[in-house]
């Protein structure tokens, strides 16, 4: 398999669209449920804390400049434990890919075409994802570059069209939320916005041609994604009000349904849905690609392409069984997913970093004690 390289501008765009992901649809509801009208404060704090999370990921990735995250697991923790943690991480990405396919199916079925079975949407979407995985990362990055200006244009149009309907009373009183509810809101926000950014570590060290600008690109993409999400949350609270936002499953779709310019331009919410479908596509592709490539690397299979179709078939099946209804999905995303993702996207990199630092200290101590054996230690260093 020849190595595939993407430019840092493509990497920034992928980060931007990836971090928005499904958050653009469901985040306003889940964090307004806890923090009420202060949800935008929780989101802003979450975006700032996400910069620390990205710093953690970049520090880990720079320790192993020629390996992506799955290979780094095996190299740092040794063959046995590294394989176990990598498999657990792949279970996380695999289940998330299935969950996202469920999500696109339930969104289209609930809001757009109620009489179509969700399996039809999941099937169509997964054919696109499988073909994209077959064509590889470079083609995918180019498709993200094409989707980006459309996304930005529709988003700006959306924000401008909805602002006439703002009522500032909805966001008062300020700073009424308790510390516990802020903590829950920030945890839920970060679990959907920033913890999954670790999947981009499959791209970062090995797949990017200029490393320093790619690091900046990761920060810039995440910040702009955060700006988009905070804007959306603020608009939801200002236009719909906190109770209305918290009780809907897709508050931003309800927001788009309210766009009415001069009583003439109405019912254009499906054009807004283009935004959400593109961001879900980026995220689903990254999860699926990570799972397929990671599985091929753990099992030491040279070419990951034959595995795409069986994994795609399993993911379609997963998407139908993963949540029996939307209540189960909301409960899982609010209660369990923050803990699950925290363990494998924050604690696991911290563990890897600690092991790397301990190993570096040990080999430095050996270098100081036995200068004759220096060449042998140089070969053993990480």
């Amino acid at each position: 398999m020849e190595k595939e390289i993407i430019s840092s501008r493509q990497f920034t765009i992928v980060t931007f669209l990836y971090s928005i992901g499904t958050a653009i649809l469901i985040i306003p509801s889940s964090i307004t449920g806890a923090a009420k009208q202060d949800a935008w404060i929780a989101a802003s704090i979450g975006v700032l804390l996400s910069l620390l999370v990205i710093k953690l990921f970049l520090t880990l990735a720079n320790q192993t400049p020629s390996l992506n995250f799955i290979e780094a697991n095996e190299k740092i923790l040794g063959r046995f434990f590294g394989k176990i943690t990598a498999i657990c991480f792949l279970i996380l990405t695999f289940l998330s890919a299935g969950e996202l396919l469920y999500f696109i199916g339930i969104f289209m079925k609930t809001e757009v075409m109620p009489e179509t079975p969700t399996l039809a949407f999941a099937l169509l979407f997964s054919i696109i994802i499988m073909y994209a995985a077959y064509l590889g990362i470079e083609t995918f990055a180019r498709s993200a570059e094409i989707l980006f200006p459309l996304f930005t244009f529709i988003f700006i149009f959306f924000v401008l069209s909805i602002t006439p309907q703002i009522t500032f009373e909805n966001i008062q009183p300020l700073l009424e939320a308790t510390k516990a509810s802020m903590f829950y809101s920030i945890a839920r926000f970060m679990s959907i916005f920033s913890f999954p950014l670790i999947v981009l570590l499959m791209l970062y060290p090995t797949g990017v041609n200029v490393q320093p600008s790619a690091q900046k690109g990761l920060y810039i993409g995440a910040i702009f994604g955060g700006i988009v999400l905070v804007t959306l949350i603020v608009l939801s609270i200002l236009v719909l009000g906190p109770e209305n936002t918290a009780s809907r499953t897709f508050p931003s779709y309800a927001l788009a349904q309210r766009i009415s310019i001069g009583n003439f331009l109405q019912r254009i919410e499906i054009i807004m849905a283009f935004m959400w479908i593109s961001s879900i596509y980026i995220r689903t592709f990254m999860y699926f690609y990570t799972t397929v490539v990671g599985l091929a690397q753990i099992l030491k299979i040279k070419d990951h392409r034959p595995l795409i179709i069986p994994m795609g078939i399993i993911v379609i099946g997963l998407s139908q069984i993963v949540h029996p209804d939307i209540v189960h999905s909301t409960n899982y995303n609010n209660e369990i997913w923050p803990i699950f993702s925290f363990i494998f996207t924050i604690l696991l990199p911290i563990l890897l970093l600690i092991v790397v630092v301990i190993r570096n200290r040990k080999s430095k101590a050996q270098n100081n004690e036995t200068p004759q054996q220096e060449t042998e230690n140089d070969n053993q260093k990480v």
């Binding site: 070419d303 078939i313 069984i321 993963v322 029996p324 209660e335 369990i336 699950f340």
Partner: protein, 77 residues
């Protein structure tokens, strides 16, 4: 019922197309993994088509992590 048979036929077609290609590359591990995953995927999808109740893997995840969640919630009460 028709859907289950259609899934089986599609799986057999996929197997017939891909296994000779993999056999040429002499990668035994890839053939085993491919067949195993195809088997799981076909079984899963046929179960869904025949409306068998398959429990969600996220229920297992929820079961594992609920004690941790209760512990964290008890901190903030």
């Amino acid at each position: 019922m028709v859907l289950a048979v259609a899934i089986l036929i599609i799986a057999i077609i996929v197997a017939l197309i891909f296994i000779p290609k993999l056999k040429k590359q002499q990668d035994r591990k890839a053939i085993i993994v491919f067949s195993f995953l195809l088997l799981i995927g076909t079984a899963l999808n046929m179960g869904i088509a025949l409306k068998i109740h398959i429990p969600s893997p996220l229920d297992l995840i929820t079961f594992i992590f609920t004690p941790i969640r209760d512990y964290i919630v008890s901190f903030t009460k």
